[in-house]
Subunit: 436 residues, 2 copies
């Protein structure tokens, strides 16, 4: 069959990986795709020393790729919002199919991009945008189509998981481990996107849309980072039988949809609790299939390239297909209106909690703490009170049963107002991941 | 769009689950598939009390479904070889697309079936044949298309994993746990297919074909069951840092392809080692993506139905597609000849080993054992000699480094010939699952 010609925009880590995988595995890829996939042009501002591109036409202008009449598929790997947005929209207007690894772009501008793509009759594929090389988009969008998805929970930021794994294994502070991760290249110089959960929220937004058939709503996602976690919390969680992971969670409830990224205690014996280092894993609960899990490398040159190239092959196969027979961008042929399934405010979610507070070692403190919780209808599942050293504050660790976040907020407000309690009450949410 | 009409043949566990999922999730499924999926006819010899089929035409004759001109997709869920084979081949000849969950049928007659399907221009889909609800066929065949797959290793028989999990957790004998599994419905009255590894070999045969692009070669698979495992081996493995799992392993080597099912020691910290009970999980190593893992329910009515229905939706989308643009049955448009990538005989594989032997407690025994191993070029990684009770045989546990199975066979022959060694030498293969 006729070769399919791609133009790669951006030859950084992922672009370089994509080029190398397409070259190295060209013959197996052609056998799988039923036709050769050829890199027709590369747009890059600088050389990537890991790539031997001398047989390919190179340009410094990404828009040359978009306007190249030979090219069937534009592969956007420049990242960021502005230029990437321009590039993708122009490609669509030129009738090119698009493959992108850009989670920020899809999470924020996806609705608009898919609308334009639908009108132009082109495919926009974005497997690499979530969890790197793990085929999680395909698994949910095509593999679990029989299911009503109840929830999705995942470790979808490798940097954060690397930091948490190291804090736990070596009982070290966040800042220390972060500095090391930066030195090793696992964390960016500005680590905000990763450690504050923004990157995870981009990915979670995409997962929620394909799981539930709703528009992308990144602005509704709740994000809480890992910078405030102490080794002490990780240790106490361990004593209680839990591991702390930075999870993205999206759940369908009768009231609406939960969409949240935050540190979470999960039982040690869960597979997710045993996903270490920079690895990613996503759990998906479907009403027919039950719990399933997908694990692998969430970042890196060739793992991400694996997903980009899989998309290229899918597009190569589907581009001749009538639009109605293609897999819809967000999994559903009619995306539900946001009002049909509103994203719940954080106050409306229900979960169990881990609390840590520091109190003066005085008779009656525990009783006052217990009364405040009980007044809010919050029941205590476990309590650990550390032994006091003369004159020192005693740390009190509490695990509660499930309660509404609004009640917990009120309880925490009252706890922090107690004269016996010093400083902030630390609150970490708990998920057992065993619900339907 | 026009509804797609399916005929379900067999209304047992999986057939009933498929019917119920299609009914219960009809509206979400229609939104995903872009058209309604309608059960037009059911062929079954007896009612399934979990299904309300009174609005569907039912027949006792499966061939009526095949000949029904209204039906687009024949769903074969009767199992077994003979009638299922007839049914599928007739459906193909009638120009119907086929969805099946029948691993035995595909592993044994797949080459023939796919050839006939290709000539007739119809799709034969079989996601449910491997690992139940886990979309592992799709993940390898479409999600990892960029990769040269190096190896696949999986827990692909839930019954076996249930038995091993229970033997380990409760230090119980195989026969005892098997009887319990039979009482609970986790094991068949005749458990041969499950505990002897035949079922796993069927699934592994299919995985190997889609991973490496070779014809199905079930007759070349090596199978060894779990019936001879003792709680003692599970315990000693634990002491050495391993868990014993019944794995299907297929690996590409320079000499050819490994295709084997046997009990295997794997390091405790691997995710696969933490897959318990009836659950399945498959690890796939791709040269670009590295290690990935897929976990979920490997059997049961609705988990299997989840895969069957996903296939139905895929077929509904692809049936209008030109054959060249469909995903090839066995992942590759040209399947390599068996001679290009021969399946290796077991003697040619290389792996590490766990050995248990029982010896008379006499000076020099260990030296004789060590000499035999060393003469075969086998080096010892660990050795545990249990304390002897007066006059009793001493169990000796050995872990070796990697060696060729042929050398190990010869060493075992010589060990068993030693007058100091009583009975058979137990040999369990070891895989670290950390290789590229």
């Amino acid at each position: 069959m006729k070769p399919v010609k791609v133009g790669i925009c951006g030859l950084g880590t992922v672009g370089g990986g994509t080029f190398n995988v397409l070259e190295r595995n060209a013959s197996e890829i052609a056998r799988r795709a039923g036709r050769p996939i050829i890199v027709e042009q590369i747009a890059t501002r600088r050389d990537n020393p890991s790539c031997d591109t001398h047989q390919v036409a190179c340009t410094q202008d990404i828009f040359e790729v978009v306007n190249n009449p030979e090219i069937d598929i534009v592969v956007e790997l420049i990242g960021g919002y502005d230029t990437a947005y321009e590039l993708v929209m122009q490609a669509i207007r030129q009738g090119k199919h698009v493959v992108t690894a850009n989670k920020a772009l899809i999470a924020v501008y996806g609705n608009e991009i898919f609308k334009a793509a639908e009108e132009a009759g082109v495919i926009v594929a974005f497997e690499a945008a979530v969890a790197g090389g793990i085929p999680i988009i395909k698994s949910i969008r095509e593999g679990l189509t029989a299911n009503q998805i109840n929830w999705v929970a995942g470790i979808i930021n490798g940097t954060g998981n690397y930091i948490l794994t190291n804090m736990r294994d070596h009982k070290r502070d966040f800042t220390e481990v972060l500095a090391e991760a930066q030195a090793l290249g696992y964390a960016e110089a500005d680590p905000t996107f990763d450690v504050e959960g923004i990157d995870a929220a981009h990915k979670l937004t995409i997962l929620a849309s394909i799981a539930f058939g709703i528009p992308l709503q990144f602005d509704k996602a709740y994000t809480e980072g890992i910078a405030r976690l102490l080794p002490m919390d990780i240790e106490q969680a361990d004593v209680l039988g839990y591991v702390i992971k930075h999870l993205g969670i999206t759940k369908r409830t009768e009231q609406g949809l939960e969409l949240r990224v935050h540190p979470t205690l999960i039982p040690k014996e869960r597979l997710l609790a045993n996903v270490h280092g920079v690895k990613n894993a996503v759990m998906v609960y479907g009403d027919a299939v039950g719990p399933t899990l997908y694990y692998g490398a969430g970042a890196g040159a060739e793992p991400t390239a694996s997903a980009v190239v899989a998309d290229i092959i899918d597009v190569a196969r589907e581009m001749a297909t009538d639009q109605n027979n293609r897999v819809p961008y967000l999994a559903f042929s009619e995306v539900a209106q946001a009002k049909d399934m509103p994203v719940l405010p954080m106050e409306a979610i229900e979960t169990a909690y881990y609390l840590r507070l520091h109190a003066v070692d005085r008779p009656g403190v525990l009783a006052r703490v217990a009364t405040i919780l009980s007044d809010q209808g919050i029941s205590i599942e476990a309590l650990i009170q550390k032994e006091a050293t003369e004159g020192e504050l005693v740390p009190i660790i509490l695990m509660t049963h499930k309660t509404r976040e609004a009640s917990m907020n009120e309880a925490i407000r009252q706890l922090e107002a107690l004269v016996d309690v010093a400083g902030d009450v630390v609150r970490i949410r708990v998920e057992n991941l065993d619900e339907q």
